[in-house]
Symmetry: C2
Subunit: 503 residues, 2 copies
């Protein structure tokens, strides 16, 4: 059995007996340390493990021995192997991530990873950063939302089977509100009771605001953090622990009433962002038909700091792990954990609008192509969901290319940050942008990567159909391209159409 | 024929012959000045007139002679009379307003008002600040929206009949996007053509962000301003004029492509605010049922400056002239001026949610009353739509008391800022709050006026049913009131219900 990392590296997955045998060495090394176990070495957990391993006391000595735990499966084991080799398991433009992992594994030697559940027995603190997702993001109604809690429950059972009675379990995973009190607490209690532990469970929730990009680790360490405990003792332990690795002098911790409140806060926070994006989309369509440059209009409104400066620009779509699903967790919780008939109509509607948003760029492309996409050669520029970040999770480009394929178009994709598209493993990402522009009939700029913004009109080898979904082209370039025979449409760029750039 | 001001002062309305005869004196005084005519002396126009009259050149001399124009009707004439008497026609906590009007009328004598249309002939600049409203705000669909442009058209015809060929017409009224180009421009052109004027119309749009309250005048003079011209000459004139009375060194002007863009910007800006309020309302209902204190949750999220710090708190409802109607202007424009089939679903839905929002407080009150409101004595605290401001335009308290009346409750209302409720002229506003609390069975705090926030539990003469719709009571006071036998529910205060404060 092998586990293949995104960079192509192949690692054999050991048998559990080998893993447990190897763990003896880890347990020896951990002796005398305060031990933190991070459960789940994904996008959040891997970075959190690095940050906690880098925490220092006043004298400059490491505070914790950190053990990252993930599963001995083909999908997950490579993360363990990478980390034990001193490499950050997630590729990031934040060089600090690689540096901290390398230092903690190689020099201070207070960071390692394992698939052994024996790790939990060593922990003073157990951070839960496991994966929790909805089954399908493209749902039309509250009744269709499915959340599979089996993975989380299984992870929590493993913790409960192994943990010390007095360890703090700190949940960072974004969960339906109510999960800590109604799912995790009873699961832990049950497992502990089976071991004869009657001491109260110490359980807290503290959600992450970690973001990919150059401030990946800073978004954990130097940013606002909200938490809550299931009781006062849990809250106190969580506060002390969080303060030991977060810059709380500049970002004081915010404590909420109980985990329902902090679980809801996380989901509300992301739902707000998603709703603001959906709001601007219908004005995008309006502006395009009224001949208005909505980019400039939004710019003029964003001068109002504190009330309007977060107004979203028009765009191609919404991607990422959180904004595309967190609202569904809220609705699922209302329906299933709290048995309410309440429907978050605005919030749910926003998610559906955002999901379909890339199809508007598809419509613009279709308009430029005279309605006939079958057999046309289309180049998509931008596969990640953020500019200059190699993160393809729930990228709206996926929805766009699926529509292209259904229409019978021949599409290819380019992204300066990517060689491989995990969600579309059969897609070939072209590397030679200039060559691809020569081959194609139409180009769609989905993501405002710097490489695309740097293209001058001279870089286009021949007149093309151009859809600019993310303000990659300023008006000067657009006028120049149109003058050279290109035909252009842009998301939110009604003034281009008014000026006849599409014909 | 008489005109009665909100403060009860009665002014006879002169005949138009007398008005025009009096105007001879104004025309004489205006000689040698650059003249600004402000058409419409309502909430915006009256303040704009005062600000422009206070504009000074580098040597400290007034820049303009300002003539405010309104109609010789019972509804409007009192504004002219007040202004000519040196009094601000709109009551405001901003003392600067009274002072500037008094100085400009009494000392520098460069501000006056008239109902004579002859004023337009003197003007270098004509600012249009007339009233434009939808017929009904409580609409369910795009097809139901009605905008009556007759008043605006009539005002513009008066301008066109009198204006000099080279005067700039600057529209500040919030209008459906497209109105300057498709309604005002042809109307002006027609009237000018009838007078043999063939010179191009100079027409610009520059929307106000004026707000009631202590920064009333500052919100005109020291705030961001967006404008656009119907052509380059108009834009240039508008830029120079606006810069002569706005602090453009701290708040540089933003010029947009054309009036469609700036008209849309104004409406979008307010629609955004309205949508954000509607968004939080459905989370308010969720939080109440899940036992969560949403006020605290929103507080914890607003620490994220620039992305989340404008998240709205829960509340009683939305009032005012703009947020309750501007979105309807957008939809009307799309349907009627641009003949689109596009429906602003998110935006329109938000307006409907906001319109119904006070009925949630009604439901909470009903719950405390055991579902039976008939014959119950209810005191509403707060009639204006903003704390500590005497502005009742489209106050959500109006919707609330209509529901109370329909349910057969006996309601009375109190507001520390008001003696009179123009939209409910038959309502008696009680002045003795302590006495009113003795008389009532239930109190609803609709507006967080300082006077209500200052009430201590000792001020309540007997146990009451209390609905706190706007965080008037903190948790300490709520606990104390509940301990003394009051029963409480609060908008967004799920934790009160969890703690049993309602029983």
């Amino acid at each position: 059995m092998h586990s293949i990392a995104p960079d192509g590296a192949i690692y054999p997955v050991p048998r559990i007996e080998e893993i447990n045998a190897d763990f003896v060495g880890i347990a020896q090394r951990a002796r005398g340390w305060r031990v933190v176990v991070v459960q789940g070495l994904g996008f959040v957990g891997a970075a959190v493990a690095a940050v906690i391993a880098a925490a220092r006391d006043a004298a400059g000595a490491p505070l914790y021995f950190v053990i990252g735990v993930d599963l001995p499966t083909p999908a997950a084991y490579w993360k363990i192997a990478k980390l034990n080799a001193g490499c950050a398991p997630i590729a990031s433009p934040d060089a600090e991530f690689d540096r901290l992992v390398s230092e903690a594994v190689g020099q201070t030697q207070n960071l390692c990873a394992t698939a052994s559940e024996e790790a939990y027995a060593l922990a003073d603190f157990i951070m839960v950063d496991v994966h929790l997702d909805v089954v399908d993001r493209a749902v039309e109604s509250a009744a269709e939302i499915q959340v599979n809690l089996a993975g989380l429950e299984s992870a929590i059972r493993a913790v409960g089977r192994g943990m010390r009675a007095d360890a703090l379990v700190l949940v960072e995973t974004t969960v339906p509100f109510g999960t800590c009190q109604r799912v995790i607490f009873p699961t832990l209690s049950e497992e502990r009771a089976a071991r004869g532990i009657s001491a109260p469970v110490l359980l807290a929730h503290a959600y992450e605001r970690v973001m990919p990009g150059p401030r990946y680790l800073a978004s954990i360490r130097r940013f606002w953090r909200t938490f809550s405990g299931i009781d006062e003792a849990s809250a106190r332990r969580a506060r002390e622990f969080l303060a030991s690795f977060i810059d709380t002098s500049n970002f004081p911790l915010r404590e909420l009433d109980d985990p329902v409140a902090s679980e809801m806060a996380k989901i509300l926070e992301n739902s707000y962002r998603a709703a603001n994006i959906a709001f601007i989309h219908e004005w995008t369509l309006l502006a395009e038909r009224a001949g208005v440059n909505l980019w400039e209009v939004v710019d003029s409104i964003r001068v109002r700091k504190g009330t309007h400066d977060n107004m979203r620009y028009p765009g191609f779509g919404v991607g990422g792990y959180c904004l595309t699903k967190d609202s569904l967790l809220a609705q699922w919780s209302a329906t299933h954990l709290f048995k309410m008939d309440h429907v978050l109509e605005v919030t749910m509607n926003a998610l559906q609008i955002n999901y379909r948003m890339p199809l508007h760029s598809f419509d613009l492309l279709s308009e430029l192509c005279g309605g006939a996409l079958e057999g046309r050669r289309i180049l998509i520029c931008g596969v990640s969901y953020l500019p200059d970040v190699a993160d393809t999770r729930n990228s709206p480009t996926g929805i766009f290319v699926d529509a292209l394929a259904a229409a019978g178009a021949h599409w290819s994709a380019h992204d300066p940050c990517l060689r491989f598209w995990p969600e579309q493993p059969d897609a070939v990402l072209v590397e030679d942008l200039a060559g691809a522009l020569r081959e194609t009939e139409a180009v769609v700029f989905a993501v405002p990567h710097a490489a695309y913004r740097a293209l001058s009109p001279d870089h286009y080898p021949k007149p093309l159909l151009v859809v600019d979904a993310n303000n990659v082209l300023d008006d000067t370039k657009a006028a120049s391209l149109h003058g050279r025979g290109h035909r252009l449409l842009g998301v939110g760029k009604g003034h281009w159409k008014k000026r006849g750039y599409h014909s």
